[in-house]
Symmetry: C2
Subunit: 347 residues, 2 copies
């Protein structure tokens, strides 16, 4: 009886251990991304329409998706972005993917959350060049939008707070779980090959992980760009100091996420590093005082590529048409009566 009871206990214990082991995530400084939990699907749907709607811009041509393109890893892959009238932006467009995990928004952290960020580009003269007042006026003139806002928010008049709440709700769903690395974290030891594993070990041991950690492999702190050696750049952005006014915060930027980094080139706040190899090499040097050789760089790059997760599956929204009351877009700055020239060009 005793032997039998003992065997049953041992068996139960093994099963319990196996179950516990299966469910155990490796204890690493990088954590897996969990799938988004959608609390208000109607708000998310409305937010998606707004995210893709270029009528929130002066020209009627630029939407959130223009610079945070969900077909391209959530960014535009340009050194800095193109704004109204083709103005050259001052800083690299961060990816919207997994941005919900950022400690703050923008490279200088001036927006505390996604909601606060969303209103920025709409009214930025170098970007969408519109105003919050005009944006809500446009939306208010479109019955289908009015109805949708009323359903979601229970109010008659549309205000910018509702617009940014909806956009933020949509952006919160833009996470990318199930990367090869997360599969490895969750117990699939075959998910990484030798190069990738070697790259991760180097990433950890060198100290990259001191800043690039957590579920977003970044986004959790502000750090000086050019910690060990100054970072040489023509870019005039000085980061956090713009918000804190503390001299010690000069050239401190929000650590970007490395999730999907193989899709979010070019790199750094100035977008000056064109390739992952460049980025790894420079980071090693200026942040850690390390000169990675070609093999080490290649291994780290191999690891970084394992951080590409499952891209959000988006059904392209179809927006309701403008009405006769909707303020017209003004791309060429001559008001409604813009003349069309150059029709001798091939049309």
């Amino acid at each position: 009886m005793k032997a039998k009871a003992l065997m049953i206990s041992l068996l139960a214990f093994s099963v319990a251990t196996a179950v516990w082991a299966e469910g155990t995530v490796k204890d690493e400084p990088i954590k897996p991304i969990e799938a988004a939990v959608v609390k208000d699907p109607k708000m998310v749907e409305l937010g998606k329409k707004l995210y893709f709607d270029p009528r929130l811009s002066k020209s009627g041509f630029i939407s959130c998706n223009s610079c945070h393109n969900l077909s391209l890893g959530g960014t535009d892959n340009l050194q800095t972005s193109i704004g109204d009238k083709w103005q050259q932006g001052p800083i690299n467009s961060p990816t919207v993917l997994n941005s919900s995990m950022n400690v703050a928004q923008f490279w200088d952290g001036r927006a505390k959350d996604l909601k606060e960020q969303a209103g920025g580009p709409i009214a930025n003269p170098g970007e969408m060049a519109f105003t919050h007042e005009l944006a809500t006026k446009v939306l208010d003139s479109i019955p289908a939008y009015k109805e949708e806002f009323k359903t979601v928010f229970g109010k008659e008049a549309i205000d910018i707070g509702m617009v940014t709440d909806a956009i933020a709700a949509f952006e919160e769903t833009l996470v990318t779980p199930d990367s090869k690395f997360d599969q490895w974290l969750k117990g699939d030891d075959k998910a990484l090959d030798d190069k990738e594993l070697a790259g991760y070990k180097l990433f950890k041991d060198s100290g990259c992980v001191a800043c690039h950690n957590g579920p977003a492999v970044g986004g959790t702190s502000f750090q000086k760009m050019g910690l060990v050696e100054p970072y040489k750049t023509d870019n005039k952005a000085e980061g956090l100091v713009a918000v804190s006014k503390q001299d010690a915060d000069r050239f401190k930027f929000k650590v970007p996420t490395l999730r999907n980094v193989e899709m979010t080139y070019p790199y750094f706040h100035d977008g000056a590093a064109k390739t992952l190899e460049d980025a790894v090499h420079i980071m090693g040097q200026i942040q850690l005082g390390k000169k990675f050789n070609d093999e080490e760089t290649a291994n780290i790059v191999a690891f970084l590529k394992t951080l590409t997760g499952k891209q959000p599956e988006i059904t392209l929204p179809v927006m309701a048409p403008s009405t006769n009351d909707t303020p017209r877009p003004d791309p060429f700055g001559k008001g409604d009566a813009a003349k069309v020239e150059g029709a001798d060009k091939k049309s």
Copy 2:
């Protein structure tokens, strides 16, 4: 026996008639749109990626979808489009929706089909400002694209013909069946209300339907813009004459489709008519010598709005990232080493 046989025959005849009537489309000059038949789903999928890929433009910012936006009824809702470096386009962007039914492509018909049209904007210096050679070079440098082209076309090297074949295959799926009007055509007599029906009758009786007919309610011929009265415009486009070199073809343009017309404002080749009411009023006057009063205009507009069909449901494609070999986009015209200025602006 005879009476019974007669009754059975009558019954059978009634049933047959009812079945025949149910399946009968009304004999009208506008025909219903049928759903697209997808012959090569892999080619369509590839075509969709290309359609949404801004790397086919010099700036890396403009894709087919920029000006033929599938969230906005297949056009950009601008009088004329925005091209590379914010150049002002010379002519209104036609909708891609149902464009497969056009007798030719472009307002002047210079491309015979969708395939021929697709290569135009890529290499147009006022539009995407790229070259076919560079576009295929970009695609060729991306392994996932190479693989996809090989699977679809069975060839190693990518050429522009394959690119345009794929884009055309995707565009062929962009039809919009099941509008209220088509439901009416197919036998649902309750699908149109009195105003809409009155509008359609006027559309027919006035002669609009002489040009705007067929499944696309247009697209089947070239007609003079300003048939009865000249059309006053600053736009320099002269239409078909550019292709035929025949003086009689001056100001003849391809009749645009009226499908989804409530979404495809502003109207005419010069985009000068901002509202449907304006468009109907002007058309009546210059093409038919008719002065529609407010009620007639309103009825025709009500009818035109019944031509909005079921919009294609598109899963946003996610494109494979560029590689270290991919030619870099050049939005600001200074080559790869573009300096970033103005970082004192809010970023």
